[in-house]
Structures are given as C-alpha cells and as structure tokens.
Symmetry: C2
Subunit: 326 residues, 2 copies
C-alpha cells in the first residue's frame, strides 16, 4: 500500500518482477485485499506465477508521523509485512511507503544486528565510472564518530557484494582532502577509519562523488539526504534549461530534437529510479525502502535487489565484518 | 598572486575589468612587481587605464596552512592587499588565492562587524528561476544556531542588494519541510528564524535549491561546501556522459554536434565561474574570494562585484539588519 501510486504501481512492479525472476522468487502482497485483487485483475499478466495476497486492514499514510504510526495502526501493511518477515514467512520486505515509518518499524520489528548501534540507509549515485554508495542517506541525522564508522563497515560489505569488488574503496565525505579538514565529528571519525581494516582512502570532497573517486562515501544522514535530493533534482533542472533554449527559436528546437536520444540517455544516467530503492543495513532482516513516487520499474528493481541481498547473505557478512573491526 | 594561474589570469582579468568599468574603478595589483609588469607588457590592452602595482615580496601558496601562513609570510600579497584596504587606500579586496588564508586574514586584518560572531561566505547556485544564495559555503563548519541565524540575516541583506528584492525569501536547508525535521542545530535555528523579521519560509530540502524555491538557503559550511563542490562537478559529469554517448557511433556523434550550442548554453548555466567568486560577509570591509582555477573572466566578474558591494553600502546594511534583529 506504500507510495503515491499504491497499490497500482506496486502491483504492476510486483508482477513484472515475478516474470523477470524466472521462478526464483515468490511474492506476498500485503494490504487491502480487495484493492490489490482489483489491480491484479486489470493486469493482463502473461506470466503464470501470481503473487499471494495477505490482507492488512490499515495503511500508514505518507503524512503520518513515523513515531506514532506503528502504535496507532497495528494492522498496517508495513507492520504486517515486517512481521511476516520476522516470522520467516518471508525472506525480505520491500516498501515504497512512508520512509520514516518503514525505517523505525524495520528496526523495531526485525531488531538490530549484534554490534550495530544505528541501522543505516545508503543511496547509489551514478558516476563517471561505477556507482558510488553514499551512506547514510537520511536515516540518522545527528551522528557520533562511532556511527559513521559503522556506516563505513556496512557500506563496504554491501558494495562489495553489489559490485563484486573484494575491497571497495571508502572515503569520508568532507570539505578538503587533508586529514585536518572536516568538522569535529568527521575529524574524529577519520582517525578511527585510518586504523580500521577497511580500504579507506581518506577524506573525499563533494566533487569526488560524480567523479567516482570512491565506491563508498560516508557521511551523516543530514548531509547524505540533502545531497541525494539535490542530485535527484539535477535532471529536472537540465530539462527546464533545455526547454528554455528550445523556446528561443525553431532552429534551437530542431537542434535539440536531433540530439534527443543522447540527452535522454544522459539524463537516464541521473535517474535514481533505475537503482530502485535504498537498502536498510544493520537490521536483522532484509528491508528495502523505495521513493514515494516509485514507478512500477522502480518497484520491480527493489524486489529483485531484495532477492539478491538474501542470496548474498548480507547480514551474516555485516556481522562478521563488525566483529573483525572490533 | 592568487590562484593556479597567477599572475597571468589575475592581470588579464584586472585589465578587462578596468576596460568594462568605464572609469568607475581604479585597481591596485598587489604582488611580485616584476612578474606583474611582465604580464602587463604581454597584454596589448586597448584600454587607456592601467592598474597600479604595489609590490609584495611573498606569496601564500595554495598548500600553505591558513593558520600559519599569515605569521610566516608577513609580506604576502594577501596580507599587504588587505592592509591597504584596512588603511582605506583601497575600498575592497579581491583574491583567487588560498581560500582559508584569505578568510582568516580578512577577519583578522579587517575585523568583524559589530554583532557578527562568524563572518561567512555564500555561493550563488543557478536555478530554474533567479539564483539561490547558499550560505555558509565553507567558512564555518561547526555552527551553533546563533551562527546560522547570522548567516540568514547577512544572506538576506546581500541578496536583497544583488537581486533587487526588498524581502528575499529565506529557507533553512534540512531533510524535510516540516518544522520537526532536521538535526539538533537546525531545529533550534528554525525557532529563531520563525521569530525573526526575515521573510523566512521554513525548512527547504536539497531538491529545492535548483528549483529556485528560495532566494537564500541557510546551512553550515560543512553542508554548503559539499553541496557547492558537488554542484560544480555536475557539468564535468554530464560532459563525460555525452562523450560516452558520442563514442557509440558516427550518428550519435553528429547528433550531439548539431545540439552543441544548446548543450553549451545549458552547461554554461551550471558554470559557477560566471558569478565570479564568493563574498565574505560580516567583516569590516569588502573581501571577495575566488576559485583557485579562476579564469580571467571570473577575476573580472569578482572585481566588478566588489565595486557593486562598495556601492551598495553592504556593511552598513548588514549592521542595521543585525541591530534590527536583536
């Protein structure tokens, strides 16, 4: 029931994922049974496999407070879905609903992994080379050095599996490359990371993300969230500027029409929907949180990503990495 | 002597500014007299006006520590130039040199305006409409609510003169629009701003900057600097992506060639050089700090901007605004 286009986008994304997975996954759709069934009826799915439906009578709305939603709506699709996961009736949970509510419900219902004080979400940024995982992307705004250190460890494990790199490069997002640059928290964090077993390259700057200088960029969730939303707004800004240029005259319009394919391909690279949702790392389960405006394609990608994370044994790896770092 | 291409870019930018100013300004070039003179000889300036030269025997290098450079190099072009300004032999100071050194030297030599605890630098971001002034852009990394409040007041005054808006809109950069969203410092700052006489619209998010939702976006210098450098890296990222597209084949190449003018005009909008340097607000004088890689055009724009700031009586206005806010 999550997201601005629920359950329509969720149901079609789910059906697409089932089709693409080639039988590797089965799905349980949690929410208002009637509405889900009616969505499924409108889809003329060629795929034989059908998602199961598990009824939940309540919905956490996008404007509900994450802190009170769980208590006020005990039969919400978020709470019911996560409980199915905790009870091992599902191996992973995926939602495009109220981000704060999914975050706190995941931590509360699934619990934290041993040694993890703050579960975190990270976001993949496109770069000139392979993507850069910015962690934390908004779950934890006020952080201590220990928390940033945890984000680095969890980010390293995630990216290692995702990109198939045995020792991903880790950078600490700061305002200069030198070890002395940063704020109080990052300067202390830098010392911890220098002593760690991670492949830590030191401070990186805002410009290093799109350059793809590191595989993982570590920051608190305040910085990460602002950066993520700024990045998401770049395609819209460019489109508005191109439109303005095209409005200057017929020749300008034709020029841009000729180049449209190229422009579209470049803007697509900036489209965070392609990556489909951000993983919540550090909880005792697999939970992926999608954008409220998720398209069916984004939902599909989230589901396939969740299946991968289960296959990678991501939590066992995080646990081992946390223990190895001490 | 400041910047990666000093004194060449500085001298040609200065000569250009003199030509464009139509006699409104006169310039003193501070630095190694011989090198400056030889640069000026290579320029075949049609303009009759020539900058004066004031010799300074030392140079603060880009890698020098801002904290020790001032003491170690008492005859640096930065120290000498700022002293000329303090002694009223110049009305403003402009440099593309070591940012940290210009910042601390400006505060130390010129002094702070009454009521200002933390002088600040702000940066103009292009948007879908009129530019957005992000303040602080890197001068103050660890900030208290009172400091962010000061940035808002100074940013409001600056943008009011710059864009000719009597009551510029002010937003507090945060991770959600609701008043409850933010980190400890911004939540407390929001209360102060709500009670102020500023045209405060509340929290704004990372995506609101390029949309041009507010005239001034307030944040600490850690966030502002990361955002500024991320923004500066967008054109390079897009060019690399377009190049990749063009490399796919001759048709793709031709398509982009046809559109080149439009693309250049769009990328130009993202070119921060156009705005030429960031003003240091809150010191008892006019000091503008340029990018190390400043082009002659950026230097020219910095000089013309400095002249404007003097004309606006910017410091008198900041002083009055600080007093009015209490």
């Amino acid at each position: 029931m999550g997201g601005d286009f629920a359950p329509s986008h969720v149901v079609s994304g789910a059906v697409e994922a089932l089709g693409e997975s080639g039988g590797r996954i089965s799905l349980i759709l949690v929410g208002d049974e009637k509405r889900i069934r009616s969505e499924m009826d409108t889809l003329n799915s060629r795929s034989g496999a059908k998602p199961e439906i598990h009824h939940a009578s309540e919905v956490v709305e996008m404007h509900d407070s994450p802190n009170t939603a769980l208590k006020a709506k005990r039969d919400s699709s978020i709470a019911v879905g996560l409980t199915l996961h905790r009870e091992k009736k599902a191996d992973a949970f995926v939602s495009a609903g109220n981000t704060g509510a999914v975050l706190s419900a995941s931590t509360l219902i699934l619990g934290r992994l041993k040694g993890v004080a703050r579960p975190t979400i990270g976001a993949l940024f496109p770069t000139e080379s392979s993507p850069c995982f910015v962690v934390d992307a908004g779950a934890n705004v006020d952080c201590k050095p220990r928390h940033l250190f945890e984000f680095a460890v969890m980010g390293s494990v995630y990216v290692s599996s995702l990109l198939g790199k045995s020792e991903p490069t880790i950078g600490l997002l700061s305002i200069g490359e030198e070890d002395t640059k940063g704020n109080e928290v990052t300067i202390e964090t830098l010392e911890m990371l220098r002593k760690s077993r991670l492949n830590f390259v030191g401070n990186v700057e805002g410009r290093d993300i799109l350059k793809g200088k590191v595989d993982v960029a570590v920051c608190d969730g305040f910085v990460g969230n602002i950066l993520l939303k700024f990045g998401e707004s770049v395609p819209g800004f460019l489109k508005s500027r191109l439109k303005e240029f095209a409005a200057q005259g017929i020749m300008q319009k034709i020029r841009l029409l000729v180049a449209q394919g190229g422009l579209r391909s470049v803007l697509k690279n900036l489209d965070y929907q392609e990556y489909g949702g951000v993983p919540l790392l550090g909880v005792n389960g697999v939970s992926i949180i999608g954008h409220g405006g998720s398209t069916p394609k984004a939902i599909k990608n989230m589901i396939l990503r969740a299946e991968e994370m289960v296959r990678w044994n991501i939590n066992q790896k995080i646990q081992s990495a946390m223990e190895a770092q001490g």
